[in-house]
Amino acid sequence: MTKSQLIEAVAGRLESVSKKDVEVIVDTIFSCMTEALTRDERIEIRGFGSFVSKIRESREGRNPKTGEKVFVPRKRTPFFTVGKELKERVNSVEGNK
């Protein structure tokens, strides 16, 4: 499912809300989350999961193709931890196991 399909699906469930409004809201949700991570702020969506920004220290890497040494700079990376409800629901469907 893509973002535009998510917008369609949500609009389909909420008859009183236009697709245009759902689009603005979905974009607001993800831009809020992006901004929080940019500020190094944790995000906790109960039942869905949490996101944290972690620092990856700089390191001496290698280009796997040429074997050449490259410097990989220090950078921020987002990490996602699945929430309890989503974890259980994803794993509960018969035939998944």
Binding site: V17, V22, I29, T34, P78, R89, N91, V93
Partner: protein, 96 residues
Amino acid sequence: MAMTKANIVEEVYKKVGFSKSQAAEIVETVFETMKETLEKGEKLKISGFGNFTPRDKKTRIGRNPKTGEAIEISARRVVTFKASPVLKAKMNEKAP
């Protein structure tokens, strides 16, 4: 302070002409739809943010790190997240 669903609802409320309870309902429906998609085993691709992928894990032998005891970890379906290059770039606009 962590950002919660309440903070997101607040931002949505400021942006659109809905009441706070309507904004909360819509935000809730967005996350519920996302959960249902992943529950069905379907991948969720949010362009500019990242992809959530359900993955099937086979049974494997793990170890209790405290006791060293070998235990079987049952087959399961998990969700993984891979950040979009756009998100990673935004997070690194200011030097970390």
